[in-house]
């Protein structure tokens, strides 16, 4: 398998604070990788750097053979990296369907003549966008809300909507920032199935941050664990789970001894 994304020696320093320090990762095409760690470990900062929202202090990000370090977020998105947000960034005044259409239209060129004249190709394209967006809503199982204002949706469905929105943009790499946060166990089990389903169906590569270990262990094929801005452990789920350093980061030094 080939490597889709390679981050080497990424550093993100905010003045004296080293939010991310020497982050190295290789994500293989078609895999689901997990990024776990305690609060404030720098997981979201990593995603921010990969999606272009933050420009790393130093280091290099290679995506699909191209160097994307410091490239504008909208260009990175068009290259095929899309992301969701931990604190939900929906377009709250738009309907659910319109939210997804924003994602679906990402690769479209501006068509001034079509817009002003409402020409037949333009109408056809609008219909296509709508169909595609409805399909994505169906994949995420929230098609019944299509005409609702997105801000009025239940929290779990808003999370699903965010995934539907980025999915409609035909990404190659999907960065999911805590997709199961705020979901009950049944919902997150459902989400686990959906995420695996979309990976298989659309041939995606997924990097996800998650605190729900059931989701992480159920989904991920490779896990990076961060603490205080650095990767402290990486490997297969079983190995990371039993790594004393990981247990120490989560539960403290005593916990390692308690187990023995």
């Amino acid at each position: 398998m080939s490597v889709l994304l390679e981050a080497s020696e990424l550093n993100m320093h905010f003045k004296g604070l080293k939010a991310v320090n020497n982050f190295n990762a290789q994500i293989e095409k078609g895999s689901i990788c997990g990024l776990i760690g305690t609060n404030g470990a720098g997981k979201t900062t990593v995603i921010n750097m990969l999606s272009g929202v933050l420009v790393p202090t130093s280091g290099k990000i290679i995506f699909d053979g191209k160097n994307i370090t410091g490239v504008r977020p909208d260009k990175i998105a068009k290259m095929g990296i899309t992301r969701t947000y931990q604190n939900l960034r929906l377009f709250k005044k738009m309907t659910v369907l319109e939210n997804v259409i924003i994602g679906a239209q990402m690769h479209d060129k501006l068509d001034p003549l079509g817009i002003v004249g409402n020409t037949i190709p333009h109408k056809r394209r609008e219909a296509e966008l709508k169909d595609k967006s409805m399909e994505m809503l169906k994949v995420m199982g929230i098609e019944k809300y299509a005409d609702h204002i997105s801000g009025s949706l239940p929290y779990g469905s808003q999370r699903k909507l965010e995934i539907a929105r980025v999915l409609a943009a035909d990404p190659k790499l999907l960065l999911l920032d805590e997709p199961a946060a705020g979901m009950n166990p049944q919902e997150s089990a459902e989400l686990t199935e959906i995420i695996r389903g979309i990976r298989d169906r659309y041939g995606l590569t997924i990097l996800l941050i998650e605190h729900d270990m059931k989701v992480v262990m159920g989904l991920c094929e490779y896990i990076y664990c961060m603490a205080f801005g650095e990767i402290i452990s990486e490997g297969l789920p079983e190995a990371v789970r039993n790594d004393p350093k990981v247990i120490e980061a989560y539960l403290g030094r005593g916990a390692v001894h308690a187990e023995n």
Binding site: S51, G52, V53, R72, P73, D74, I76, A77, K78, T82, R83, Y85, R89, L90, F91, K92, K93, M94, T95, E98, I101, I102, G103, Q105, M106, H107, D108, L110, D111, G114, I115, V116, N118, H122, E126, L129, D147, H148, I149, S152, R165, V166, A169
Partner: protein
């Protein structure tokens, strides 16, 4: 079953939003020098202005307070192309010779005026719009002052503070309303297209919009320029309606009046421009007698200078407190019914006539039915108010 409201009746929409305005326009066009024609024209210009301002302030989430500056540019530039060479020799002798001899059709002059406004918008927008926040508001406020200073001091080109008089009265009702219809149609198509969706997305959440492939800088700049172009044209129309242009007409007063109109009508809707523009054109006229003292119920009221401004201010405050989204909120049914095919074909459909009857019936029975039982499928199937 859903209750039928008057909004569902396409025939009523046709009557209120197409035929009624057409009657007003025909009246204005046939009495070109009448008192009401002036008010109708003013309302038309306000509608153009507010619609273009809403594209910036409402749909793209920037806040410009300096659109009067673009109006001034549009008015002066278009005047340069419509005045006679003799007039230009007298008032603006500093202009180059080709410009003094230039004489173009009115609409072409308006378009050139708009284009010059775009150039200025590009110059101030390019450095400013790449930042977030309210920088644009401050800079546009500054722009008004700059434009005023230039107009007052470059006497060679602008005749200084005396202004230019004797502009040909070419903006009649027909021209204004044809331009208004084109502008509203253009903006309506714009906000209902991928471009407009991108704008609204940018307004609601710029970070998310950016990571969905929207180039914020170019989107903001293009919206600002489109708005400046339309405003420049409206400025030319305004100048040729008053037939006098001077820096003091295009100062804070006018700028804030347009912003106020946009807030009253509803910033987040193009349709808001229509009630907003009409109110702002007529209300000062209604209130004007107060200023000079009026007889009310047998009592002679004293002269109250500034009373109409005070009342307008109170209206603005009340709107902000009780209906922050403006009269139209985010509804688009005025502009929608102007440009929708259904509105015009409705006259020939029996169903539409029945709808009016239903709307009347539901007006009287709707409350009763709602309180009787709210059916679960009613709740599920009715999309929330958009």
């Amino acid at each position: 079953m859903r209750t039928t409201t008057f909004k569902d009746c396409n025939i009523l929409r046709l009557l209120v939003f197409v035929i009624l305005p057409l009657c007003a326009i025909v009246y204005g066009a046939s009495h070109p020098s009448g008192y009401y024609a002036g008010l109708i024209n003013l309302a038309g210009i306000y509608i153009i202005l507010v619609a273009s301002l809403n594209l910036v302030n409402g749909f793209s989430g920037m806040f410009s307070m300096g659109h009067a500056a673009f109006m001034a540019i549009g008015a002066y530039i278009s005047a340069f192309f419509t005045l006679t060479p003799a007039q230009k020799m007298a008032s603006t002798p500093g202009l180059p010779e080709w410009l003094i001899n230039a004489n173009l059709p009115f609409v072409v002059a308006l378009i050139i005026g708009g284009a010059c406004a775009v150039v200025v918008a590009l110059i101030i927008g390019y450095p400013v719009l790449r930042f977030k926040g309210h920088y644009l508001s401050i800079v546009t406020l500054g722009l008004i002052v700059i434009v005023r200073a230039v107009l007052d001091n470059e006497g060679e080109y602008t005749n200084g503070a005396r202004g230019i008089t004797g502009l040909p009265p070419k903006s009649n009702t027909v021209v204004i309303f044809i331009i208004m219809a084109i502008v509203l149609y253009f903006l309506f198509r714009l906000i209902r297209s991928q471009y407009g969706r991108g704008l609204i997305a940018m307004r609601d959440d710029d970070v998310a919009a950016q990571t969905l492939g929207i180039n914020l800088a170019s989107k903001k700049l293009s919206a600002f320029c489109i708005s400046a172009f339309i405003t420049g044209m409206a400025g030319g129309l305004f100048g040729h309606m008053q037939s006098v242009i001077s820096g003091k007409f295009y100062y804070f007063d006018l700028s804030f009046r347009v912003v106020q109109t946009s807030i009253i009508g509803g910033m987040f809707s193009l349709s808001g421009a229509v009630p907003g523009g009409i109110i702002m054109a007529y209300l000062p006229e209604v209130l004007a007698p107060l200023e000079t003292g009026v007889k009310l119920f047998g009592h002679q009221l004293p002269e109250m200078y500034g009373a109409s401004n005070l009342i307008m201010a109170i209206i603005l405050i009340l709107i902000i407190i009780f209906r922050r989204q403006g009269l139209m909120g985010e509804h688009e049914f005025i502009v929608e019914s102007m440009f929708s095919k259904d509105t015009y074909t409705s006259l020939f459909k029996k169903e539409e006539y029945l709808n009016i009857g239903r709307a009347f019936r539901d007006l009287f029975t709707g409350k009763w039915r709602k309180s009787k039982k709210a059916l679960p499928e009613d709740i599920d199937n009715t999309p929330p108010v958009v």
